[in-house]
Amino acid sequence: MHKVDIDLEHITKIEGDASIRITMEDGKATKVNFSTEEYKRFFTEALKGKSIMAVPSHLSRICGTCSNAHIMAAIEACEMALDIQPSKQTEMLRALTMHGLVVRDHALHLYLFCLPDVYGKDAFLDFDENDPHQHQLLHDAFDIKSAGNYLATVIAGRSVHAMYPTIGGFIHFPTQEEVAEAIHKLEHAREPALRLVTEFMNAPFHFDRKTDYMALLPDEGYGYINGKIRTSKGDVYDEKVYRELVEHVVLPYSQASAYQYKGDPYMVGALARMNIAKDKLHPKTKESCAEALALFPSTDIFHNNLAQAIEVVHSIDEAIELLTNNTIVKEEVIKKPYREATGIGVVEAPRGALYHKVHIDAEGKVVDGEVIVPTGQNQINIEEDAGRLVEELWAKGVQDVESITFELEKLIRAYDPCMSCAAHFLKLDLEVK
């Protein structure tokens, strides 16, 4: 019996840490455990007894990079519980908050985490400033990230753990000068974003495996907050019934949970959104990205990165339009009396559908809550892809630990998992029998 053990601790250039254990028997991956081992911080247990007003900022602390998405989901859940209908301006400011998040977060992932693999570099900062193309990429990355960061900061107060959004509205509003500067920065970032689309359209990595996709998408347009839960099978559901769709799977080897839909794994995130709703993107985005959009729908997981790049362009176009065509004025926060109720909030975080549920009593204290994060929903899909990938490599004679590890890391990065939401610590154990 030929036995190989691979231990890869701390996969790099992802959000947080995870581990993966693969057992190969007769060329087949008989066990693949992608486990999330962060020491639990018990955010949903800690919710109990808190005032409903503290829920958004509390749940934001689950994750740094996804924090503003957690705030949006929590606010939506709390407003449903209190029967608050936000104003049109509040809805627009929340959309802008999410556009800022998408631009900043996708750019971080694509440039700093993924692009070094494409260029055979250890780190993005290793790109050669004396090479005109790589010099351009370095400056593009920080220009795009800066534009997203600025948009989130002037609209929501911060790009991480935003302070201005609250239950019933916003507590602070940008000045006209700040809006003008945001438009300027976004316009300046558009050409770099289009170059980013080209980079990932031409990237050499591909891995195809058919699966199902799920995303929250509006009836009109391509947004991240409102709409219905839609699947690549053509099913459409109201977000209130999410718990009937998302089936919990216990993972005895991990501190995280996994989920299935109708007994099958599925994928959430940019690729899911693009596969289901590419026709609803901003008209300028569709015009500028037509060649890349022709590749969708796609079952190539590496097209998740291409979809993220297209979403950067879309969020820039949407944000510029919203900021240009609307005047932001000061509004009072809407308040309603407390009541015993349950609220559900669903948003599309950059990495996919994010579900919050909160149950409050008549005094506005939290009785119970639930959070389902995108990476948990992608868990089983990641495992199935990882097993299939190693089997294919094995069949091609690629059986050395270093090569397998590199290919697995690329695959996992393509999913853009957020282990801060679900895990810490990546360790790869490959056992061959």
Binding site: D17, E45, I62, D122
Partner: protein
């Protein structure tokens, strides 16, 4: 900063324990304005979010984010301390323990509800802040960390460790 004279770069380590990694994100956002300067003077020796081939040897400055939740965390942190000239705690979880340590103040009923998970994964009975385990040279509080305080702390450490890099130490 005078960066034209050849010099040995400042060796940086960035280590993450139990937290949301919001400070890592703020660090990458600060790079939007500072990446060229930092690339020139810093050797990002062990920064997992930035690179694959991390080197774990000696550090001039180790930045530590997150609270200490397990015996393995304690041992790792002590080891980092032992190989670092300066250690900086960044963000609320590292500086105060919270919110990662919120289970420390749970009611008896809440503690009973989570105890099987604490036991199953071998977590510490109580989550600790960084200074509960090792000596800390500087702290940058905030959730996320206050970026002005972070830059002030970084500049002060650069001035102390490599005064030749600072044209005017007063600024």
């Amino acid at each position: 900063m005078n960066t034209e004279t050849p010099f040995e770069k400042i060796k940086i380590g960035w280590f993450v324990f139990s937290c949301s990694e919001d400070n890592t994100i703020m660090f990458t956002e600060l790079m939007n304005d500072h990446w060229q300067e930092w690339k020139r003077i810093f050797d990002f020796r062990h920064v997992k979010v930035l690179k694959k081939n991390n080197i774990y040897d000696a550090f001039d400055i180790a930045f530590v984010e997150g609270a200490i939740a397990s015996p393995e965390h304690e041992e790792k942190l002590k080891d980092i301390r032992g190989r670092s000239t300066k250690l900086v705690a960044v963000g609320a979880c590292a500086v105060t323990g919270m919110p990662a340590s919120q289970r420390n103040t749970f009611t008896p009923e809440q503690k009973e509800a989570i105890q099987f998970l604490v036991d199953r994964f071998g977590a510490l009975p109580e989550v600790k802040k960084v200074s509960d385990v090792v000596a800390v040279d500087a702290s940058v509080p905030g959730c996320p960390m206050n970026t002005d305080m972070f830059l002030k702390a970084v500049n002060a450490l650069v001035a102390e460790l490599r005064p030749e890099l600072v044209a005017d130490p007063a600024h």
